[in-house]
């Protein structure tokens, strides 16, 4: 087994083992055979109003006789404060039939950091997303189901929260049971050459299917450039 295949396998297996995510860019798996690299940029609502950039090399994955996308994504709130940021990496595979209908699975691992007036948060999360739909090189449309568990989340109450509200507050770790679900659609349309426009939208619920207040949905638009 070549070193690149071993590396790709290691990434795929490590994300499988660790399993948690963060909202990912929309990739059209039908492009995996004709593009070696895809760079993306996008913005929209996903929690806060968010902007992201990502890069996904497409590599062979002989174990399953497929090509595998390995996206790396950097995302920020549109107006970041206090060093807010998010990073994620993952792996996406697909099986597409002769008529264009197919399934795609994606695993992600993410790190997200956020500071607020009440507390600072550091979350190592994961993502398991399934797409089922119609994938052609000129475009795709798919239903999306995702699970984004929190692997480990550190919550550190701020000094002002301790001073004004609860002097007994202190940092704590949260494990599993702190994740959420997505259900939505994503579409990709090729507009010129190797350029695509993308849209992901849907609703979010907690793992116990409780409603998430404020913005219980996501809607991201973006642009992909393959080469």
């Amino acid at each position: 087994m070549s070193r690149s295949i071993m590396a790709a396998t290691a990434v795929a297996l490590s994300t499988l083992v660790v399993s948690p995510l963060a909202g990912a860019q929309a990739l059209n798996p039908a492009r995996f055979d004709d593009a070696n690299h895809i760079v993306s940029g996008g913005f929209g609502v996903d929690g806060p109003i968010t902007a992201d950039v990502s890069y996904a090399p497409i590599v062979p994955f002989p174990l399953l006789d497929r090509r595998l996308a390995l996206p790396i994504r950097f995302f920020l709130p549109m107006r970041p404060y206090h060093g807010d940021y998010g990073l994620s990496t993952g792996a996406q595979l697909a099986t597409i039939g002769r008529h264009g209908f197919g399934l795609s699975g994606r695993l992600d691992l993410s790190l997200r950091r956020e500071s607020t007036e009440v507390a600072s948060f550091t979350r190592i999360g994961g993502g398991l997303t399934f797409l089922g739909g119609y994938f052609r090189e000129r475009g795709s449309v798919a239903l999306e189901l995702g699970w984004e568990p929190g692997l480990a989340t550190r919550v550190s109450p701020s000094d002002s929260y301790k001073r004004q509200t609860y002097p007994g507050a202190h940092s704590t770790w949260m494990g599993f049971g702190n994740g959420f679900l997505r259900a939505g659609v994503q579409g990709v349309v090729r507009v010129a050459g190797n350029t695509e426009l993308t849209l992901r939208t849907g609703v979010t619920r907690t793992e116990q299917l409780n409603r998430m207040d404020l913005l219980p949905f996501y809607a991201m638009v973006g642009i992909n450039q393959g080469f």
């Binding site: 929690g47 806060p48 509200t165 770790w173 599993f176 998430m212």
Partner: protein
């Protein structure tokens, strides 16, 4: 190896993983929010009407009864506790955190209903009045002013006086209109909104402690429109997310004005002049439901008037209560 040992060795890791996946997340809930009366027996509490409320009273029980009602739903009485000084001026003052709010017992949504809330307040009044007929006066802020009106609509003959600071609505249509104005033009690019929205992707509200903690991250989003002084925020113990989320939804198409025409007591509406939502026109619309009401504007403050204008507020409340219990004309 016994059969039990075999099963433990084989399934132990899986069981461990499942336990880690329980809704509690395996974290220290009191790291984020203070204990309620169920977890801290040292807190003053009142077990009543199928719940346990964080509650305390001050003053001579034989004196006129004044019940203070905090904001929310879901808030607590910490920011109005300084008004207990009225106990030294001849009033029996009562403070309590409502069902599922503040440091009172947590309930799931199915136990936070219109019936349970009205029943709680009736039970609290009767408990501290030590009768079912002794007159009562209410001092309510925001949601508390709505709660007081709700009780008054059911017992107009029993209520002697009302101080209503920034009530939001007395009917469903008024509430819808209020929320439209509250959320209109919200700065979704602002830091407060970003903080609240981000927190909801990092911690989920699948248990009471986490949900209550998340409420705090959202509170500053509306503070600006309500004229609240961010440099001197009102203190809270703990917000009750379920009460905040579920109560007004459970109240359905409510109308708490049907019997207000029978109310013969006084009603003082208080507002702060920095508040862009509870405007004078808003108060005039609500005050019109009462046969006799007057509106006073407190300068230099917003929705936080009772906390950030304590001297003026106390004077207005004292005057109103003295007039109410001395039989002064409305």
């Amino acid at each position: 190896m016994t059969h039990t040992e075999f099963r433990t060795r084989r399934w132990g890791p899986l069981l461990g993983l499942l336990l880690l996946s329980t809704p509690s997340c395996g974290y220290d809930e009191q790291a984020l929010v203070p204990a309620t009366v169920d977890e801290d027996p040292s807190l003053p509490a009142l077990a009543i009407h199928g719940t346990k409320l964080h509650a305390e009273s001050f003053g001579d029980p034989e004196k006129p009864l004044v019940v203070f009602l905090h904001g929310g739903p879901g808030g607590d009485y910490r920011s109005v506790l300084h008004l207990r000084t009225l106990a030294a001026e001849g009033f029996h003052t009562v403070f309590f955190d409502h069902r599922g709010a503040g440091l009172s017992r947590r309930h799931d949504c199915d136990e936070i209903t219109a019936d349970s809330y009205l029943g709680d307040l009736e039970a609290v009044v009767d408990h501290y009045a030590r009768s079912t007929t002794k007159p009562v006066a209410f001092v309510g802020i925001s949601w508390g002013a709505m709660y007081a009106t709700w009780y008054t609509d059911h017992h107009p003959e029993r209520v002697r006086g009302l101080v209503l600071a920034d009530p939001s609505a007395f009917t469903r249509s008024e509430l819808d209109d209020y929320f439209d104005r509250l959320f209109q033009g919200l700065d979704v690019f602002g830091e407060e909104f970003k903080d609240a929205a981000s927190a909801r992707r990092l911690v989920t509200p699948d248990d009471h402690a986490r949900a209550d903690f998340l409420v705090l991250t959202a509170s500053p989003v509306i503070d600006g429109k309500l004229g609240i002084d961010s440099a001197r925020p009102e203190p809270v113990w703990r917000n009750g997310a379920a009460a905040q989320t579920c109560l007004l939804a459970a109240a359905g198409d409510f109308d708490w004005t049907k019997n207000l025409a029978r109310y013969q007591g006084r009603a003082l509406f208080m507002r702060g002049d920095k508040n862009e939502v509870h405007t004078l026109a808003h108060h005039q619309r609500l005050a019109a439901h009462y046969p006799s009401a007057r509106i006073v504007t407190v300068p230099g403050v917003g929705h936080d008037m009772l906390y950030n204008a304590p001297t003026q507020s106390l004077e207005l409340i004292r005057t109103e209560l003295n007039a109410a219990f001395s039989g002064g004309a409305p």
